[in-house]
Structure formats: C-alpha cells, structure tokens
Subunit: 256 residues, 2 copies
C-alpha cells in the first residue's frame, strides 16, 4: 500500500507531513524498537525508494534526517548502517579532568597527537583571558587531537603564556595538558569552565571525522595556580556522540 501525505496527516494531528519525514520517522521507530539493531545495514537507497514508492532524492532526504539525528551513518560503496551508541563520561568533580585517567577507568586507551605547536603574538581576547602584562606579547598555541581506542573523539586548542610553554617544552607534545602542568611544577589551584554545544564546522568535521553540523561538546577552560596566575586557557571540542560530562554538586559548598 502506498502511504500518502494525507494518511500521515491523520497520524500526526493536523500538520501535513512530507514524505521524507514520514520515511525517516518510520525508520527511526524501527531502529529504536530494534528491528534494525546497532551495526545492522538498512535497505539500499534504491530498495527504500521501491518500498516507499518515492524517488531516490526523497529517500536521500529521509536518510539525511536520520544522519542528522545521529542514528545512522553511510559508507560509500557499502551501505547505510545503524550507529552504535555508547558515550564516554568525563568528570567535572575531580575537579580537573585528567582525560587519560578517565579513559583508562572506562577500559579505553587514550592518546594525544599534536597537530600544531607555535609561538605567536597574542590576540586581544587571549591576552585578556590570560591576563598578560605589557611585556608578554607572545603566547604558545597548541592544537592536539585526543584519540580513544584510536578514534579521534576530541580536538583540544590550548593557549599558554610564553614562560610556561617554554618550561614544559616537549612534555606538552605527548602529555595531556592538566597532567603536564600538575606533574612539572605548575599545580593548578582553580579553574573557570563552561560547557556548550556547537555544530561542527567544515574544518572541525574533517578533524573529528563527523558530518558537517554534527553536535559537538565544547569544554572551555581557564586555569590558575594558587597565586591566581593564569596557566592555560583553551577549549576541548569533543564529539557529542562519544562524550558527556558529569558532576556531583553539594549545597554546603558554595563554589564548585
């Protein structure tokens, strides 16, 4: 039987429903009720077109809906597959997250891969965040990819005052940021952090191997030592389909 938009209207209140949505919703329900389990292959675009009596363009629109919802992924030449869902948790309660420790605790390997480490003139915004004085005109920027079980799950962009980057040197190339600071003479006393979500830009989507616009978690940080001297600021941009952050809050402590 052919499903018409009119029939869909009966299903979903008075709003008219386009075919691509009818199809993606039908497939979504089948995925969520395990008709298609994680890892399973969906029928090909051609077969789905036959099944729902629509053109391939419309099928592709429906599949795009599912990709945007993070439910399936496509592999050229192979097919459409239901995604596995399992997120890695990072704790805010530590209070500073040692990414590698958390990964190991959850039975995964952790590794970083530096893709950029350069000295350059600090732009105004970074100068303010790191409270640089008039003589400190240069900073070091480091960009690194964080891999868990050899999958790129996050991209970290960090900015260090010149004297700190020079003191740590090579260590930053292989160590996670907080751990490198803690263990080499720059203990962290406090930090101001925020968490937001941003859709992947083209550049980020290439690094993390996700589709354009896929949800990413952004953990922004600014860390100080006990003399309130800023040690580092930056952001960790992680794949939202692989990561989340958790915390224990307590009313008796007024600051986290």
């Amino acid at each position: 039987m052919v499903i018409t938009p009119f029939m869909a209207r009966r299903d979903q209140g008075s709003a008219r429903m386009p075919m691509h949505l009818i199809i993606s919703e039908k497939l979504r329900k089948q995925i969520e009720s395990d008709v298609y389990a994680p890892g399973d292959q969906l029928p090909s675009e051609f077969d789905l077109g036959q099944l729902f009596n629509v053109s391939r363009t419309t099928v592709r629109r429906a599949i795009a809906n599912l990709i945007n919802q993070g439910l399936v992924e496509t592999q050229q030449g192979k097919g459409i597959f239901v995604k596995e869902q399992q997120k890695i948790s990072f704790s805010l309660s530590n209070p500073l997250t040692f990414f590698d420790t958390e990964l190991k605790r959850q039975g995964r390997t952790g590794r970083i891969q530096t893709i950029l480490f350069q000295r350059f003139e600090a732009p105004r915004e970074i100068r303010n965040r790191l409270r640089l004085n008039a003589e400190q005109i240069h900073i070091y920027q480091q960009e690194k990819i964080i891999l868990s079980d050899d999958v790129a799950i996050a991209l970290d962009i960090a900015y260090f005052p010149e004297h700190i980057a020079q003191a740590l040197g090579e260590i930053l190339q292989v160590e996670f940021t907080y751990r490198a600071l803690e263990h080499h003479g720059f203990p962290i006393e406090s930090a101001r952090v925020s968490i937001e979500s941003r859709p992947a830009s083209y550049e980020t989507s290439e690094y993390l191997n996700v589709s354009l616009g896929a949800p990413l978690l952004v953990y922004r940080y600014l860390a100080w030592n006990s003399d309130s001297v800023p040690l580092v600021c930056g952001e960790t941009i992680s794949r939202a389909d692989y990561t989340f952050y958790s915390a224990d809050l307590n009313v008796t402590q007024m600051n986290i």
Copy 2:
C-alpha cells in the same frame, strides 16, 4: 567566472570538494567576516544558483549545510536570514540552578508552561534512580517548556516520588522545579548531574521549534535532601544555540 571543483581542489589541499560545500564555505566566510551581518537576508535560492552557476538543488544543499551549522535560518515565502548569536548562561556553581534567577540576572524574562502532569507506574529505570521501595509503585511525571522572552528555549522532563508531587501539588505547575522544592519544605542537599548533547528528534524539534537534528544540551539531574532521600530526577533539554553551562572549579574541594 565559473568555479569548478578543480579550482576548489587547489584551495583545499588534494581533497576534491563538491560544489555544495564550496558554496556553503564561501557563504560561511562571508557571514563570519560580516559581509552578511546577523539578521541580514542572503540572496534568494534562484539568485545564488545564477551566481554560482548551479542548479537550485545544489544551492539548497549548500543552504542545508549552513542551517546544520546554525548559521542561517529560512522563512518560507520570505528568504534566508543570518542568525543572531547570543547564548544564555546557566551556572553549575550555585550549586543548583535557579533558571528564573539566572534569566533575570541576564535581563530576560523567564516563564514555564506545563504541558503534562500525570501519575503513572514507575518504569524500572526511574525506580532505580529515585530508589523507590516496594510500596512506592507510582510516580508523577511533569513535562514543561521553559520560555525566555517568550521563546521556547528548553523542555524539562521531571519525575517525582508520589508523596512529594502530592505535597507540592499546584505549585509545580507554575514554579521552576528547584525553587518549588527549596521553598516548600524539601530543601536540596546534593545532586548528581551530567551534561551531554543530543541532536533534536522530530518530537523535540517541534516543541523547541528547531530543525531536525539541531544540537541540544541535555542536563540530567538527580537531587537528594540531607537524609539522602531522592527528591526528583529528570532532564532539561535546551536549545544549544541559546544556552550554555558554566562552573567555577576549586582543587581544595574534592567534590563539586
């Protein structure tokens, strides 16, 4: 001059770049360099097709890229417009977020609109989270929309043990959850929370008026009183283009 995929290849290393990406990247750069300011209207799909010498389908694909990146929004019959960017912050340091207080502090109005309040048999997962005993078989579920300046920015789904929901009654219909508990005999002592990001499902996208797959922030919570009795659990699902969470961390305090 016509832009060919080959020219794009020169621009972007050796990777071949499809026209829809070339177009969306070009527009993205123009948006980010304020050629098109927030609120501005982009050329129509027809004009963009002429401009880049491609079919309307390809233009639409490029626009879809920009929508997925949260950069523009479309209005049927009117045009394509650059989105305004300004996020509302919610603090984790309070340690419990009073949404209305935070909104007011940032010069916005806050209001809730209950869309569901029902008693029903607790499913296993909720039973475990709220640590219900054998006699407590029913719970109350509340779903409400949080509006800021009359825009729906979040959807909150909360589960209360029966005695608490009955004690609070009507208050929950108009008050924010934490505030209702605090001010009516159920002070919160601690909470376990997590933050993740999920793409909008069809249902959620309708409530929050976002496109299918748009990034959402999910704040999951479980709160206890001083006797470690669970008072409420649930999740606040907010539009990632409107909201973020922040916190101050301190090393001397071992728990947040």
